[in-house]
């Protein structure tokens, strides 16, 4: 690990200002992704701003009947919250399908959204990777790509976003609230939060440097059946090969977001519209523009079949 200086921030605006004063610095929350990457010298911040004392660890009702989840709420606490279990089951289920009990006790809402890809070449500092070292090339294209993206990728990067929680947040149309170093705040719809790789795969999200996430809000409860189905190489404690987050109404209408297939949680309006027609039609709309590799083409039929299981479980046409 590279040496770094450390400070604790005492307000969200002060944290953003501290990060702005120290170019290249990072906020640290649970530390479960950042410290891992720092040990491998994939991340080398010269300064850390500890945000765990910011008291952003509450879950409150919003005026319009939704929930405001503080950026520092731990994954365990979010998954176990009675309101989340009752009204946003897909979110509880997605969180509980991720990582381990120990990691969920540390991982935070904001940190989870901002975790970086698990592309094996991103982790191997001996290999070219445009996400880690812009302009060095992409080892995954033509390389080992079994876990990587089938849709929305570019000639620069075919990485996937590894978060389970973010997939459920996308299905729920969550909003990300932030504060910048000048004290100004803004709200980013989750659909616009993560980016596709394009020519700049080293930029994962539309957050500005030193911009701090303060909360994630959920709209008022949607009703319907909430299902999160994750397919992975072992039954527990593994990242998704693919996952399906769905909220399905009695009439078979609803919304669906796919994890493990793209650089961001993958949701397509035209696919939501196809849900009453069943899994095949929905999958066709989701992957109309897919460009799988030889190694990961299996993900497309896997999503279709998993969608079939999810729709059957919801009591809708599968």
């Amino acid at each position: 690990m590279k040496p770094f200086t450390y400070e604790r921030a005492d307000s969200p605006a002060a944290a953003a200002a501290a990060a702005a004063r120290n170019p290249g610095s990072r906020f640290i929350a649970g530390g479960t992704n950042l410290l891992d990457l720092m040990k491998l010298q994939i991340e080398t911040p010269p300064h850390l701003v500890d945000v765990t004392g910011l008291k952003l660890d509450r879950i409150d009702k919003t005026d319009d009947g939704g929930l405001r989840i503080g950026a520092l709420v731990r994954n365990t606490d979010l998954a176990a919250d009675d309101r989340v279990r009752r009204d946003y089951g897909v979110l509880s289920r997605a969180l509980l399908a991720g990582a381990s009990g120990q990691l969920r006790n540390m991982a935070t809402t904001a940190g989870n959204l901002l975790q970086r890809t698990r592309c094996p070449y991103f982790y191997d500092t001996n290999m070219p990777c445009n996400k880690r070292t812009p302009g060095s090339g992409c080892s995954a294209i033509g390389g080992y790509s079994r876990q990587l993206a089938v849709v929305g990728s570019s000639g620069s990067c075919i990485a996937t976003h590894p978060s389970d929680m973010a997939v459920a947040m996308r299905a729920l149309d969550a909003m990300v609230e932030t504060v910048r170093s000048d004290g100004s705040t803004r709200t980013i719809p989750i659909a616009d939060f993560h980016r596709l790789p394009g020519e700049t795969p080293h930029i994962d999200t539309n957050l500005a440097p030193a911009e701090l996430i303060t909360a994630v809000t959920l709209p008022k409860p949607l009703g319907g059946k909430h299902i999160y189905k994750k397919v992975r190489d072992r039954a527990s404690y593994a990242f998704a090969l693919i996952s399906v987050a769905a909220v399905i109404g009695k009439d078979g209408k609803g919304r669906v977001t796919i994890g493990g297939v793209a650089h961001k949680p993958w949701r397509v309006d035209a696919a939501d519209a196809q849900l009453p027609q069943g899994a095949k039609a929905t999958a066709q709309a989701l992957f109309a523009d897919a460009k799988p590799t030889k190694d990961n083409a299996y993900k497309i039929p896997l999503v279709e079949r998993t969608l079939g299981v999810v729709l059957a479980q919801a009591g809708a046409k599968s």
């Binding site: 040496p3 450390y6 530390g31 509880s92 509980l96 381990s100 009990g101 120990q102």
Partner: protein, 209 residues
């Protein structure tokens, strides 16, 4: 052609500041040896098993390294050092975490409990005794982490925290075999003592129910 590639790669790897010799070594390590200023340190007070320890630590020190290398409590083990194996599991304010993925300086003021704080050889914690009775280990390396995790798992189920295998999210989770297995999945045992570990945990959970 080949030499052109060589130069580009070197430039990329070492940020343009390396010598030819460094191009073949780990660039990060090469830069460490070049370091002239000592790394930043911070004063840290840690409450471990009820004893307060005041240390002056390199900011990079993980809680795990602080426990093992500075406080000399070597019960907590370093396995992967990447949060994947669970050997470093300790309890902080009663909750289990991977001590390898947190900085010691971030745990100031928290109540840290390691396997040494659960019981002593003369007075074992019920979970330690159950691991002995049920042969919940072979080589023993993962055992302190397994035991800390197991103690927390029972508390988590009792507190009503759901898991991936909890059938109904709105109901209280049960102290069932499947629940224990899922919740213990963050602790890897290379000897494969899993079934005996589940038996040990089940006995302790039942005895206290």
């Amino acid at each position: 052609m080949a030499s052109e590639l060589e130069i580009t790669r070197r430039g990329v790897l070492a940020g343009g500041a390396a010598t030819a010799a460094m191009a073949t070594t780990n660039p990060a390590r090469a830069q460490m040896t070049n370091q002239t200023t000592p790394p930043p340190t911070v004063p840290v007070t840690l409450d471990v098993n009820g004893t307060s320890h005041t240390l002056n630590l390199d900011t990079r020190t993980s809680l795990l390294d602080a426990l093992r290398e500075h406080i000399k409590l070597t019960g907590t083990k370093k396995g992967c050092d990447q949060g994947q194996c669970g050997a470093c599991t300790v309890l902080v304010d009663g909750k289990r975490i991977n001590s390898c993925l947190t900085l010691a300086v971030m745990q100031q003021g928290k109540r840290i409990q390691t396997v040494e704080g659960l019981g002593t050889p003369d007075s074992l914690h019920p979970m330690q005794a159950a691991f002995v009775k049920h042969d919940g280990y072979q080589c023993g390396y993962c055992t302190p982490g397994q035991i800390c995790s197991a103690v927390a798992v029972i508390a988590e189920i009792r507190a009503g925290i759901p898991s991936h295998v909890t059938p109904d999210l709105t109901a209280k989770p049960q102290l069932a075999d499947a629940e224990i297995r899922e919740r213990m999945s963050g602790n890897i045992c290379r000897c494969g003592a899993y079934s005996n570990i589940v038996e040990a945990i089940t006995e302790v959970a039942g005895a206290k129910a």
